[in-house]
Every structure is written in C-alpha cells, then in structure tokens.
Amino acid sequence: MSADPAVLPLTERDVLRALDAVIDPELDEPITDLGFVRSVRFTEQGLEVHLRLPTSFCAPNFAYLMASDAKDVLAALPLSGTVVVELDDHHDSEIINRGLAADAGYRGTFRHEAESDLDELRAIFQRKAHTAAMERALTAMLRSRPDLEEQDVADVRLGDLADDEAKAALVRRRATLGLSLDDSAPVLVDDHGVPHPAASAALALRRARSTRISIDGNAHFCRGLLATRYPGSESDQAPRAEETFFPLSTLRSTARSAVETPRKSVA
C-alpha cells in the first residue's frame, strides 16, 4: 500500500508531541518528559518507537500500560503503514512486545497473570495524582497567605486559587476524576469530592502531603536511575520543577494551636 499523498509526512517531533499524552501513572508525568522514549524511527513499513525504563524490574503492569497507551496514540496518527512499539531491556520485554505486536490486550499479553483489567490500577493513581495536586495548590496558597492557618484550607474554593500551573494541574486532575470544576467547589476534598471539615483539614492536608512527597520522590529517583542506566538520557528529560519538590519552605507550623482535646487513635 502506498502512502496517502494528501497526508503530509510526519516528523519525529509530531510523534513525540503525540506521545506527550502518555502518562506514567505512578509519577504523573508524560513519558516524553521522563526520557522514556528511546527512539523514533520511520521505516519502510511505517513507524517504530522504542521505549526504555529506569530498571529491568519496573512493575510490568505499569510498563505495559505505558507501552500500550503509546501504541494507541500513535495508531491514531495520520500515518500509513504499521506502528511498532517496543519496550527495551525489561524483564518482561518479550511478553509485552509480543502482546503489543499482536494487539493482544492486557489479558492476552499476560494470560494467567492477568485477572480482569488494569482500570482500577489506573484509577488508584489518578486519585493519588489528584491528592498530590491538591496539596501542591493548597500549600502554595498557605505560603502566599501568611494570615491563613493550616486548618483554614478547608474553606478554600477553586476560585480562590491563583491562576497558575498548580491550579491548572489540579483542575486537570479533578476533571479526570469527574469532580466539580466550578469556582465555588471546595479544594480540600476526598477522592469523591466530599470536603474535609475544618476540624480534620490539617490532618487531611498532612496525609495529602505524604502522598505528594512519595510521588515527587519517586519521580526524582526514577529520573536519576534512568540517567545512570542510559548515560546521556538525562538530556531527553524535562526537569521536574524543584518548586513542587520543596514547596514547604516558608510554611509555618500552624496546626499547633489546633489541638485542645487529647487525641484518640486513628480509626
């Protein structure tokens, strides 16, 4: 089959921009920013893209999710010929690449190791991504508003947040979870959009902070390991904003005054 003359030839850049839509669910970042795209090559048969990960033992379910998402976005490009996506140097490369080539789907790829699907796994990390984005936005607000106490975040509405990248990121993640995007919607909410009352707001923020620290820490660790494993790959990585990594610098320990009654154990 010959190429459709009406379609302009795609460039490597087009391919990478399409792959921007593929997110590492654990790190909540595009695989392009993480340096996970190893190569983009146009062949006589079509397009061949190779992916790489920080270790051979990265969780195979996430590896598969990213590779199959990559194939999906590339298959949607105006491109004649076949799309080949391969994951290099992983302990499950053979299984995953065979499954991708056959479009076997998750269960077809992992057979007895798969039970139903990866939807819940993906959902868990979408919820964590929201929690972390919420903490970033609220902590940024606490820093910029010295008059606020930590528990005051319970009253913060979407419309109160500054129009910055932290808010935009939060709004995107709320949209993913199907939470309200209205200016009057409370920001400090659980995974279902239920707000935390003022009395437990400081604790809810603290828990959200541990989630955010975990994700940020993993993102830095994975970038470092990728650069160690594939020397030179650091130049393919977009730096993760240090601002979000150390956002607590001016945060005061505001919750001290909040305690008046003895604590009970956490239910």
Binding site: S56, F57, E113, L203, S214, G217, N218, L225, T228, S249
Partner: protein, 347 residues
C-alpha cells in the same frame, strides 16, 4: 560504635547481605538484570568516592564484609536479611552457608535471619522448622516478589502465608522483615501495595513487621498503616543514601516517619552491599532537618541513637552498654506522634 564530638552511638545495621551475583551463579538473564539494577541504585545514589566497580559489586565475600561493616563501618551488630531468588541464581542470591559460617564465627557481631516461601506449602513448613532450629531464628526476610515457577509473587495475607506466620509464633520467630517487590499476581493490582502488611499485622499482633524501604515507593501508604498498627516498623534500607544525593527529600522522609510512626520504630540499615555503612552513619549523625522545613521538628541526638541502633537492638535483644540505653518515648501507640503538628482528635 561511632563517636563524634563526645557523642556516642551504638550501631545496628539491620539489613545486610552476603550475595553472589557473579556470572557463574546467574541462572539466566534475570540474574544479570537483577544485579545490574542493584548496581545502578548503588552508582546513582553513592558519593563518587564510595562507588565500587561492577566487578567488586558482584561478590564481596566474608572478609570484605567484616571489614566494610565492623573495621571501617562503625557497626556493632549486623543482621543478615537474605533474599533467595532461586529462579535467578543457581545457588541463590544470599549465600546461606557462607553467611551462617560467618555468623557462627562472630556470634556477638552477627545475627542470621533466613527466609521462607509460603508457596512451598507443607514442605516449606517442615523446612522452616528445620531452619529455625539450625539458625536459632529470631527473624525472617520475606521478598514478596520472589519468582516461583509460573508465579511471580505472593501476598502476606495469602492463606498459606498465615500458616507460616502461625508457625513463626510457635517457633518464637518474632521479627518479620518484609521487602515489597515489584511483580505480583495478578498484575491488575498495584504491586507495591502494602495493604497486605496491614492485614497480617492486625491478625498477628505478637509479631513485628518491619517494612523495608519504609514502604517506598509507597511511603504514604506505609505511614498510614504503621500509624495505626503498633507492631509495624520501618526499615531505612534504600532510603538512607538519599541523605547524600537528595538531602531535602531525605529530610522529608525522616520528618514524615517521625511524625507518623515515631522515633521508636525506625531502623537504620546500609542495605549492604548496596551501600556501605561508614559514610551513611557519618552523614546521619551530622544530618539535620533544614530550618525552613518548619512542618517538621528538628531531629534530636537521642532520636538518632534510637534509629541508628537502639530500636533494632531492642527488637533482637542485642546487649547495649548501659550508658547508651534510652527509654521509649512517651508516645501514643497509634496515631501520629507530634500532636501539636496536626489535630487528630477530630478524626
């Protein structure tokens, strides 16, 4: 013993290994991939002056281990936590006979923990009985991502795992070190999920569950479980070297741990031979939470003493010189530790 500026520290390295990953012991490509992954951890997180060559890294032997831990490394007592990895290495990854011989030759310096695999069923239970007697086991190291035939992992709340924990109770094996690995069946779930630790810790309250890597990459889930279960502890394997490459991230990890689970349940380890203890101990004694991170209290010398050795010594009944002992913190058994830093009363 480590001393600096008149301050002394009793050191227990709670997670060390004597491994053999040389090509002749590698069973297949995964044996190479596994040690390559470890070496990348080592190379990525070590100070330049502490980096080993790849060849050195494949195998150290007992003499080198004794030098790195006890001659150069300030360690008073170390605990072997061997991973078997029988599908990757002919004679296993952790070298049982060599480590046990070393332990017998240095009983005041070394404790040998062994491992079990609940997928081995009744035969594995018999083996655990024999191992407990032979090694006088006080603890076991469980790697939940161990491959076994078609299976690439298991969970602590599997029915067969419970049979093994019951036997641990009977045999006096009280300390269960858990290393959450990245592949588990079915793959539908988060392989690093620590929820099974929660179930097992709730059902076996007389066993201690030491979660290695403090649950990383799921620090938040670990903190939340550990704050509710008084028998869940955090091992600092893999987290320690961040003190060099990412000191502010390390500060956040330590700050979160002290906040959520308290100073009495955190254990230092070098994770030897992933890293060596000397530089980690020196760095930790000199470490402080940055002043601008006001959400965390500064870490005290006594908290460092507990983390560097006293907590693990208590768990393993390792004698500590009287002048270096410390009482437990007067803290709640559950709930976060620094009540002035968040209001838990309303939850």
């Amino acid at each position: 013993m480590y001393s600096q500026d008149g301050e002394s520290f009793f050191i227990v390295d709670a997670h060390v290994a004597l491994w053999d990953a040389r090509p002749e012991n590698q069973r297949n490509i995964h044996g190479k991939q596994f040690i390559d992954c470890f070496y990348d951890y080592h190379a990525n997180l070590s100070p330049e002056s502490q980096k080993w060559s790849y060849e050195e890294y494949l195998y150290q032997g007992g003499e080198r281990l004794m030098k790195d831990l006890f001659t150069d490394g300030y360690v008073d007592h170390a605990i072997f936590q061997p991973a078997k990895l029988g599908e990757f290495y002919h004679n296993g990854f952790g070298q049982t006979e060599e480590a046990w011989a070393l332990t017998q030759a240095n009983p005041d310096k070394l404790t040998y923990n062994h491992n079990f695999d609940p997928r081995l069923g009744e035969a594995g239970l018999d083996q655990l009985r024999a191992d407990a007697e032979r090694f006088d086991l006080k603890g076991v190291k469980l790697y939940t991502a161990e491959w076994n035939g078609d299976s690439r992992g298991w969970k602590l709340d599997d029915p067969w795992a419970y049979r093994y924990f019951e036997l641990c109770q009977e045999l006096g094996i009280r300390n269960i070190h858990v290393h959450k690995g990245p592949t588990i069946r079915p793959l539908d779930r988060d392989a690093f999920d620590v929820a099974d630790v929660d179930h097992a810790a709730t059902d076996f309250t007389d066993l201690n569950f030491v979660v290695e890597h403090v649950g990383l990459p799921r620090l938040e889930d670990f903190c939340w479980i550990a704050t509710q279960e008084p028998n869940v502890h955090g091992g600092l394997a893999v987290a320690m070297p961040f003190i060099h490459t990412r000191p502010r991230y390390f500060a956040q990890i330590i700050g979160e741990l002290i906040y959520w689970i308290g100073e009495d349940r955190i254990q230092f380890s070098s994770d030897y031979a992933l890293w060596t203890p000397r530089w980690l101990i020196e760095a930790f004694v000199n470490f402080q939470i940055p002043e601008d991170m006001t959400e965390y209290a500064p870490i005290t010398m006594d908290q460092k003493r507990k983390i560097l050795g006293l907590n693990a010594a208590k768990m393993y009944d390792i004698p500590v010189p009287a002048e270096l002992q410390l009482p437990n913190a007067d803290e709640t058994a559950t709930g976060s530790r620094q009540p002035e830093r968040a209001d838990l009363a309303a939850v």
